[in-house]
Amino acid sequence: MVTTPSKKTVRLSRVIVRFAGDSGDGMQLTGDRFTWESAANGNDLSTLPDFPAEIRAPQGTLPGVSAFQLHFADHDIVTPGDAPDVLVAMNPAALMASLPLLKPGAEIIVNTDEFSKRNLTKIGLTTSPLDDDTLATFSVRPVPLPSMTVEALAGFGLGKKDAERAKNMFALGLLSWLYHRELDATEHFLNDKFARKPEILKANVAALHAGYNYGDTTEDFVVRYEVAPAPVPAGTYRNISGNLALSYGLIAAARRSALPLFLGSYPITPASDILHELSRHKHFNVTTFQAEDEIAGIGAALGAAYGGALGVTTTSGPGLALKSETIGLAVALELPLLVVDVQRGGPSTGLPTKTEQADLLQALYGRNGESPVAVVAPKSPSDCFDAAIEAVRIAVTYRTPVLLLSDGYLANGQEPWAIPDLADLPTLNPGFATEPNGPDGEFLPFLRDPETLARPWAIPGTPGLAHRVGGIEKADRTGNISYDPDNHDTMVRLRQAKIDGIDVPDLEVDDPDGDADLLVIGWGSTYGPITAGVRRVRKEGKKVAQAHLRHLSPMPKNTGEVLRSYRKVLVPEMNLGQLALLLRGRFLVDAVGFNQVRGLPFTAPQMQDVINEMLEGV
């Protein structure tokens, strides 16, 4: 594609673009495609969709705004970015909802067609923000997107409504021109998507090109931008969201351990997509069971685990609460079981579509009695793949329920992922018991592996190993019901010791010079913003160390040592200080929390500020 050479190109290091429109405007799709173009361009990137809470909130209203934010750069980045540089706003609601987020001077491509009196009234405005000085500090590019799209499609034999619908492709074309992107891949994508609707296909492709050409010709756009490829390791990449990566991680782990995968689940935002995804892959020996409720979901998973499957259940906070009693049973039975909690805003129904990390203590302690489990938390969307595999390793090796704590931000956020080679993934031998293990040829279902303290996984159908287990306290070794006081104490401690003894890698500290005074430590999805904040502070020439806990139970053996080797410890969390309480209680270090519970990820400047504040106090 040849473009007017008169337009000048500016090189940028990174750009944050936000697409915002009505639920029906196709913003998620537009964002996805632009993301892909950026990826193909070699940029590093990170994205975050921002859905409305309602299925279809009334058109043109503030709650109805659906947005998609993309951060792409010529270097390694870790968050979807804070203040957008560019906003594409499809209507007044989208414009007004996004304004407070924008960087001063940001570029706003605004669809002027929608600024009717009626639409303004819907959001309580009497005058148009295009006409007063609301946008004075921004660089506004008014584009009548639907009209121009309809114009471009004249002669395609489409009704006005249908033609207008392609306006998001017009916008995408314009953006593509603006950032020097190729259109081929998106054309290819549209070919696939609308293979069976040739008119719609032609219209969308034409709108895409029209948008591109509009940028090229109009006087309104005089500068184009270029963001150079990021120096990423060689390899094959794709974009992946946390829920998808987690689903793939489960499938891969089941495959690598030659276990059938059984998912028992009940739909709940933001975890449902894992159920949806897994149910599309039944040929990988994956069974999905949409249960009548969360209790049945985990119950069935546990039943399948008892039968020798990789039992998994997926949910979000309220569902985890319901599963508490059954997790306790799994602890007592000492069977492998994966419980995935994609955390969302709480308490109670809370903020279902927002992110939060306030289920940590529930995961650790939300059951009656001393009921220890392993807890693992991924730190980024793509890391959900590895975290799932790690969780399966622990569950199967130690015959224990493992709680995997993702969250709404990881679930829906996307980032590039270096696609692993299957051959590089670890394999796992479930090691089913096949023979009696007792001194007298009997089978002792609670005789433990001396190394792991795991008990045998003796599945029904195995001759000679028939046995009975249950949730009542069991005698050590035999597993028979036992009310003996000393046995109970022994078993309580054995179950705890088994979890405490799980082999987890040491906590790694990123402390370039090894002499920082302040350690910032987090867990889960705050990894991105914390890392970005740390980088900013270091750019200011200051020293700060960073560590991130992937294993919350047990914690790495060196955790206490690491913590104690810094004068100050900062724990940023999207809760009121849950990890901080644990670190303080376990290791008696004066860890200080930075806590916000806003349903949104932290931003890099926030992290920068709080780290700086702590540094001043050092």
Binding site: T236, Y248, R255, K282, F289, A300, G461, G470
Partner: protein
């Protein structure tokens, strides 16, 4: 099939049975143990899953695999097991509190899904293990620890409830009638899909004599109505007939209705012949129809056809890019 035919004693575990002396559970245990050899399955291919309650201790006393789970959840657990292990014979043992109070939802969902499990519901119309509170099958006005001036709940009729959930196999039998119990067990075990067997069971400690009307030689012939497929429904000197409006009646005259376990409406009408009062209590198989089972259908969609290449392709997705 095992080489040497197994005997009842081959299904006994080494654990001491710990129900109260005289409890109806003993008779049921003995009947099940003497029936199991008939199944033609090895003990290790059979699993008994139970909830919590006196009745739910059942699995400990069998030499099969056994899972004593938590209150009310056995049908859900058994569903996961049955779906993922078609090679096993999966049984659920539960009580009236376990199955119909806390576990009511899992029960009706198992029944509607028609998962291939056999559910034995020991109905003693009381909470035994927690020492005598009324249950959802206790008769109204029941005086118990938690209802010192009498309960006011209308009870469930477990048969009607199961039929309302479109259960494909529903039967009732009595702890004391070993022959009948075994006959019903046999049919239940043969049925593919969810079988629900309600077993009237005496709790001699907290609800003694609840079913005496059906056991006492002087009353039982007038109260017990045996159901047999294809046979007229007659008992003592009476019969079940259809009146002019199409309703079932107990009568001394008239053309007896012929039992047809494939007729859902008939089954439902039979289940209403008497409520908690037991005065006209059909026993036997109310309903038995063949319908696709959930687990078979799920497995028909599931396989491990996909290979390593497919997995690599899945991970790679449609839109990868390469950095050199």
């Amino acid at each position: 099939m095992t080489e040497i035919p197994l005997k009842a004693k081959d299904f006994k575990s080494d654990q001491e049975v710990r129900w109260c002396p005289g409890c109806g559970d003993y008779a049921i245990l003995a009947a099940v143990q003497s029936f199991l050899p008939e199944l033609g399955r090895k003990p290790e291919d059979i699993v008994f899953v139970s909830g919590i309650g006196c009745s739910s201790r059942f699995p400990y006393y069998l030499s099969t695999y056994g899972l004593h789970s938590i209150h009310g959840r056995a049908p859900a657990i058994a569903t996961g097991l049955s779906v993922s292990r078609p090679d096993l014979d999966v049984w659920v043992v539960t009580g009236d509190g376990d199955a119909l109070s806390i576990g009511g939802n899992h029960l009706i969902h198992a029944l509607r899904r028609n998962v291939n499990i056999t559910i034995l519901l020991f109905n003693n119309r009381i909470y035994g293990l927690t020492k005598g509170q009324y249950s959802p099958t206790s008769e109204p006005g029941k005086v118990t620890k938690s209802t010192p001036v009498g309960s006011v709940d209308r009870p469930f009729n477990p048969i009607s409830l199961a039929l309302g959930a479109d259960a494909t196999f529903v039967a009732r039998t009595i702890d004391s009638d070993r022959a009948h119990l075994i006959e019903v067990l046999r049919a239940a075990a043969e049925h593919r899909g969810t079988s629900l067997v309600e077993i009237y069971q005496n709790c001699n400690i907290f609800n003694d004599g609840a079913f005496d009307l059906l056991k006492n030689p002087t009353t039982r012939d007038e109260a017990l109505i045996p159901l047999r497929a294809g046979e007229p429904i007659v008992f003592g000197d009476r019969r079940v007939v259809r009146d002019a409006t199409g309703h079932l009646q107990v009568s001394e005259h008239g053309e007896p209705v012929v039992h047809d376990p494939t007729d859902l409406e008939l089954a439902f009408a039979l289940s209403r012949l008497s409520g908690v009062a037991l005065d006209h209590t059909p026993i036997g198989i109310f309903r038995s129809v063949e319908q696709p089972t959930y687990d078979d259908e799920v497995r028909a969609q599931t396989d491990d056809r996909a290979n390593e290449d497919d997995l690599q392709a899945l991970l790679t997705g449609p839109d990868p890019w390469t950095v050199n």
